[in-house]
């Protein structure tokens, strides 16, 4: 292509302008804010849980507290791996146009769906370890495990209720994300039939 003709074509494309639908833009910005809040929450949890367990292990350097601190740091590392892996490339659109915003929203939905599976698995591991640790240190640990798990104290019952609520939330969130993803993929296909391939 002639150099000036090429520049003219680019100039036309550059000045063609683009509009990002307001609701899409708001959705992306709302999600960005939530991601930032989530990141701050993760940092706080790391400081409180990791720092707290480390301080405890330092003040009572017994094998059990050291083990607890080490495992908590292991769980935190796993959680951060999930957070960083699935938020990679999901902070900013690649350009300020509608297609890039849809791409970003699709990427975020897919990241969230994958993160849900890992979060559920990690939560189960954490609960299993924590309950095991508490059971071993409980004065009632001579009770049968099942009796202890379900009928020993209100605190353990609250853990189960929280677990139920957490998994209820995950199921609702997963459904919500899957519905949004289906809608966005359809929308994306209408904008560009081949666009979905690069997001896979």
């Amino acid at each position: 292509m002639n150099m000036d003709a090429e520049l003219d074509v680019w100039r036309g494309q550059w000045q063609s302008g683009t509009t990002i639908p307001l609701d899409l833009r708001r959705r992306v910005e709302r999600r960005s804010r939530l991601m930032k809040v989530g990141l701050i929450a993760d940092i706080l949890v790391t400081i409180v849980m990791g720092g707290g367990s480390t301080v405890w292990a330092l003040y009572s350097p017994e094998p059990d507290t050291i083990l607890l601190s080490a495992v908590i740091w292991l769980f935190l590392a796993a959680a951060w791996t999930i957070v960083l892996t699935f938020s990679r490339g999901a902070w900013f659109p690649s350009a300020l146009d509608a297609a890039a915003f849809v791409d970003l929203t699709v990427r975020r939905c897919r990241g969230a769906l994958a993160a849900i599976r890992f979060a559920a698995g990690l939560y189960l591991c954490e609960i299993a370890f924590c309950l095991g640790w508490i059971y071993n240190h409980s004065p009632e640990h001579r009770k049968r495990l099942l009796t202890w798990l379900f009928f020993s104290s209100l605190r353990i019952d609250i853990v189960w209720l929280a677990t139920l609520a957490f998994f209820g939330f995950l199921i609702w969130y997963r459904r919500n994300q899957r519905a949004e993803l289906a809608h966005l993929v359809t929308l994306r296909a209408q904008i560009s039939p081949s666009a979905d391939e690069r997001l896979a």
Partner: protein, 168 residues
């Protein structure tokens, strides 16, 4: 210039150049809210500078110089973008094959992405060229020589071409 005349002048230049300034602000930012913030900063800087405009250069050159200076100030504040000031990044566009999607908007979007990924020195020259400024005006806006504009533009076009052709 009295305040009413200044306001009138300000409204006129913004109306005439608003779209170009928006595109220019977008080339420095990653999100619409950042772009709007930068655009607002540019508008304030223009408002403050307008009384000093003596017609030594064209009005457009004057506006773009202010806008680019604000853009650079924005990059200086935004650490994630500063890397682009010095290093020459590889421009790879992960967008789909342009010949398969094929709406004009798709090609325009791809071009905007490729421009956005250029090192800032090239990005400035390209955005001004695409806004229709000549070598002399670009040299005035950026405070570099015309031959330097030519060199940067030539290199920038090569990178853009490679980036866009990679997907064919």
């Amino acid at each position: 210039m009295d305040r009413a005349a200044l306001e009138q002048h300000f409204d006129r230049v913004l109306a005439a150049n608003g779209a170009a300034l928006t595109r220019l602000a977008a080339s420095y930012t990653n999100t619409p809210s950042d772009r709007d913030d930068l655009l607002q900063e540019i508008a304030i800087a223009i408002w403050q500078a307008l009384p000093r405009f003596r017609g030594d250069c064209s009005e457009r050159t004057f506006l773009f110089r202010i806008a680019h200076n604000r853009g650079i100030a924005y990059l200086a504040r935004s650490r994630s973008q500063v890397a682009g000031l010095a290093e020459e990044i590889e421009v790879y566009d992960p967008a789909p094959d342009p010949e398969s999607g094929l709406a004009q908007e798709q090609r325009a979007a791809r071009l905007r992405r490729a421009v956005h990924r250029l090192p800032v020195a090239y990005r400035q020259v390209v955005t001004l060229t695409l806004e229709g400024l000549g070598y002399g005006e670009i040299a005035e806006v950026l405070g570099i020589s015309e031959s330097n504009v030519g060199v940067r533009l030539s290199r920038a076009r090569q990178i853009l071409r490679e980036s866009l052709e990679n997907r064919k």
